[in-house]
Symmetry: C2
Amino acid sequence: MNATHLGLLAGTLTSVAAIPQVVKTLRTRHARDISIWQPVLLSIGVALWLMYGKLINDTPLILANIIPLVCNVMLTFLKLRYRNDGTDGHDGH
Amino acid sequence: MNATHLGLLAGTLTSVAAIPQVVKTLRTRHARDISIWQPVLLSIGVALWLMYGKLINDTPLILANIIPLVCNVMLTFLKLRYRNDGTDGHDGH
């Protein structure tokens, strides 16, 4: 494996990392233990990475940040949606 | 703000994004709603980014991934530590 392959693998893993969290949150409808700051900071951060990628015309950088942007914006809204889900874990509403 | 400033701001935000989640999990001792796959995939992903940064001798890339690596390794262990914390949210043990 050369450096480029290593970079592509790294980019793939960090790109898809938030997908399981989105799936879990949609399925359980609970977000009690999630800090809202992580998806908020990541949403803004990856949006800026996207803008930076556009400015310097770096296609891999743009592509690598699309999925994380979608996932983290979704997680931010899911956290807000389920913020009043109580603390007892099985009467989500 | 030029492209470099935008990139630095993006890197700072994505670097520190996991810190609030680590603080919240340490404080509440609950990790029920966290998918273990996010910190696991991010730990491996940012470790590979670090290795890639070393291979291509890119100091910003190395620096940007140190905090996320520490935070996501911690979150993986915290999720495993608190995986049997029950589902009722206030009798963590």
